[in-house]
């Protein structure tokens, strides 16, 4: 039961990163590729009807994590207090910059929100990457499985770690590159002409940075976190997840003249990387970096079994409904964006 919920939460987080990832990526990319007001509006229009729904995956995933693994939610959220609060501020700034930009037509108002949107999107990608890096590296849990990390200490990964060290910064940069590629491919999928060309060129250029970064973080992750080797050694079928990531990464380049397949490949790459990390750490959900005997696992962090069982009764129909809405909404807004039919 705990393992099932672990998989469900992992799927929700992966969905969040794939979906909100492309609109974060579009935010990062738009400062670089969209030059005129009309082009910027096209980029925003490509995510306008869906970004809020994408962000709901974060809320619903967070809620699911809360109810299935309350000890993990409590420990990690209070331990990563400062960066999480900053994530909240960035989410606020980003949300209002999308929604409020087009309310006032001014040469001061719009460029200001464009920059806020781009910078907040980029910083969010960096923070999410750093968070993943922290989970893989482990945190200094005490006997009660609680901790508190400062933002940074000496950027080393020794005893006095901070949230940012050289390893987590490397993961953060990889996340930034990943979502830039992902967002660029999304914009290429939803637009036409000059803008589409620029979006595609950006995605494929950043791909050359993503390739060595991916190799590097894979190498360092295995070096830092011995559980990864142990997990893949004990259950070799798990190599399917890294293979998925490799397939996705190569696919982005191999299918580059087309529109939809490279975007799907980049989604597969993201899912492959996240599931590899989740598989490699399992049954740990938050390991300790100091004492291999400590750490939060799916067992000691899970809620009581009655709650987990009863949760399935509403979770499954609820998520089927939600998936239904998503398919309907994405179909309704399928195809290229045009600026003629703006709602409000």
């Amino acid at each position: 039961m705990e393992t099932l919920w672990f998989m469900l939460v992992a799927v929700m987080i992966a969905m969040y990163v794939v979906l909100d990832g492309f609109d974060l990526g579009a935010g990062i990319a738009h400062l670089l590729i969209a030059r005129t007001d009309s082009e910027r509006r096209q980029v925003l229009r490509s995510i306008g009807p869906v970004w809020d729904g994408n962000e709901v995956w974060l809320l619903a995933g967070g809620g699911t994590l809360y109810f299935a693994f309350p000890a993990l939610y409590a420990s990690s959220f209070s331990g990563f207090y400062l960066p999480l609060m900053m994530v909240l501020w960035l989410l606020i700034l980003r949300g209002i910059s999308i929604e409020f930009r087009n309310h006032i037509d001014s040469l001061v108002w719009k460029p200001f929100w464009d920059v806020v949107f781009g910078v907040a999107s980029a910083l969010l990608a960096i923070f999410f990457g750093a968070a993943l890096g922290n989970v893989v590296r482990g945190v200094p849990l005490d006997k009660a499985n609680e901790f508190f990390l400062p933002l940074w200490t000496n950027f080393g990964i020794g005893r006095d770690v901070g949230i940012l060290d050289w390893y987590t910064v490397l993961v953060a940069v990889t996340a930034l590159a990943t979502l830039t590629v992902h967002g660029g491919l999304w914009v290429a999928l939803k637009t036409e002409g000059e803008l589409q060309q620029r979006a595609r060129r950006l995605a494929l250029a950043v791909w050359w940075a993503l390739l060595p970064l991916t190799v590097a973080i894979t190498w360092f992750s295995f070096a830092i976190q011995p559980r990864l080797i142990a997990s893949f050694g004990a259950r070799p079928w798990g190599y399917v997840f890294p293979l998925l990531a490799i397939f996705g990464l190569i696919g982005i380049r191999a299918m580059r003249p087309r529109e939809i397949p490279p975007f799907l490949c980049s989604s597969i790459f993201i899912v492959g990387m996240l599931t590899s990390a989740a598989f490699g750490l399992y049954p740990y959900v938050l390991p300790s970096n100091l004492d291999a005997g400590l750490g939060l696992t799916v067992y000691n962090a899970a809620a009581a079994s009655y709650g987990l069982k009863v949760g399935l009764m509403w979770f499954i129909p609820g998520m089927l409904l939600a998936t239904g809405y998503f398919v309907y909404v994405y179909r309704s807004f399928a195809g290229k964006v045009s600026l003629e039919e703006e709602g409000h």
Binding site: G53, P70, Y81, V329
Partner: protein, 440 residues
């Protein structure tokens, strides 16, 4: 200030600011369905334009509600880790259900409602509007269910290490506290939206702009407003009051400023509680009314604060007393204002009666104050407990988040929300100035 105080202020500040927005959107979602229904039934484009105008106001408020709502869910983990660790298996249920059942629904169909009117056609567009309404009211349900459990915990057992384990899902969903609190809260949201709609309509009539829309807004706002204001008092407010009398008697005594138990207890209309001297200064009392309202008997005994050990008293009695009295006082004024306006509307004189239009226009802020005061009554009244009778507030806080770190983020939120408030007012003003007549 110690860390606990800052953590409490942190939540109080962010949730108070957050609730400015959902109270309007939940109420407005219902009124949008009303306007869309009128459009569908009459086939008159006027009502569609009216709905589109309010959809623009809705969108601004919704965006504000979303961005200020995410911090609420996060803070359970960041600032209240011990509480989340022990109670997460219970209240995590309702919070996760909110995400799964209402946020997906709301966000998906709001996108369609705002951007897809042409693609959908009138009937499907009505359905999209209705689903936004359903999603927002479900969201309210799950949040109130969470709070109701903290006010009156049910359906749980205690584990070997004192952790709180869910033992009955249906007890959680059918909590006796939940029904009245939910209905009271949602009716309060309708009051806010009805007053806002009537106020904007009154503004257009007063400045003689977009007058056909002004009349529609005033008519819909006043009719919804009079019904909702009355429902606030009875049966929802009455039911909620009895919940408190039955399950949280020290809270009732503190709310009413009743320091000594009495047979035939009076109802204090005004007065200032003096906790040190244990009396109500400068009181204006209605004899025996409190006994009657609580137990339907003029001579019934109502327990005062002296009947309870002091460590069970709410820790801020003046705040609780004043917020409760502000809520009830304003609620009474709302009934009077809306009844007057409804009477004139019925007589066909309202649209020309400038004094009453002025009154409607200037009333806008007060439902916000009353709803906020109501929530302060509920939450300050729950003290000194985080989960009533089960966990005291200091036991729930995150032990490793220092006062300095919590103050840093509280100041950050204060700065951020000041900017948001200015932007919000600017944009809403701009939409009202632009008016309902513009082509979309």
């Amino acid at each position: 200030m110690d860390a606990l105080t800052i953590h409490r202020l942190h939540f109080a500040f962010t949730v108070t600011f957050h609730y400015i927005f959902p109270q309007l959107t939940m109420g407005l979602a219902l009124l949008l369905v009303v306007l869309k229904t009128m459009a569908l039934r009459t086939g008159n484009e006027h009502y569609n334009r009216a709905a589109r105008f309010w959809a623009r106001i809705f969108a601004i408020n919704f965006a504000m509600g979303v961005v200020t709502g995410i911090p609420m869910e996060f803070q359970f983990g960041t600032n209240w880790a011990r509480f989340s660790k022990s109670a997460g298996g219970v209240i995590g249920q309702t919070l996760a259900m909110e995400g799964v059942f209402s946020f997906f629904l709301e966000s998906s169909f709001l996108g369609l409602f705002l951007y897809g009117e042409k693609k959908l056609g009138p009937k499907a567009h009505w359905v999209a509007g209705f689903l936004v309404f359903l999603g927002s009211w479900l969201s309210g349900f799950f949040i109130v269910a969470t709070d109701a459990w903290m006010q009156h915990p049910v359906g749980y057992t205690l584990g070997p290490r004192g952790e709180i384990l869910l033992s009955s899902f249906w007890a959680l969903m059918l909590n006796p506290w939940l029904l009245w609190q939910y209905l009271h809260n949602m009716t309060g949201a309708v009051v806010t939206a009805a007053f806002a709609m009537a106020a904007v309509g009154a503004f257009y009539l007063l400045v003689k702009r977009a007058e056909p829309y002004g009349r529609t807004f005033v008519r819909v706002g006043v009719i919804a407003g009079v019904v909702a204001s009355v429902l606030m008092l009875f049966p929802t407010g009455d039911g909620q009051g009895k919940n408190i009398a039955f399950h949280q008697p020290p809270t009732l005594a503190a709310m009413e400023g009743l320091f000594q138990s009495e047979e035939g207890a009076p109802l204090a209309l005004i007065g200032q509680p003096d906790v040190e001297q244990r009396r109500l200064d400068n009181p204006l009392l209605i004899p025996r009314a409190l006994s009657f309202l609580t137990y339907q008997r003029w001579k019934a005994q109502v327990k005062g604060l002296d009947a309870f050990p002091q460590d069970r008293w709410p820790d801020n009695i003046p705040l609780l007393y004043f917020s409760y009295h502000i809520m009830v006082g304003l609620g009474t004024i709302f009934i009077a204002v809306m009844a007057l306006a409804a009477l004139m509307l019925w007589r066909g004189r309202l649209f020309a009666e400038r004094k009453v239009l002025w009154l409607l226009m200037l009333s806008t802020p007060f439902p916000y104050i009353a709803n906020t005061a109501g929530w302060i009554t509920a939450e300050a009244g729950r003290q000194p407990w985080l989960i009533y009778g089960l966990m005291r507030t200091p036991e729930g806080v995150s032990p490793h988040v220092s006062a300095g770190n919590a103050l840093f983020t509280l100041i950050g939120f204060m700065g951020m929300y000041t900017v948001l408030a200015i932007l919000f007012l600017l944009l809403v003003y701009q939409e009202i100035e632009r008016g309902p007549e513009v082509r979309s």
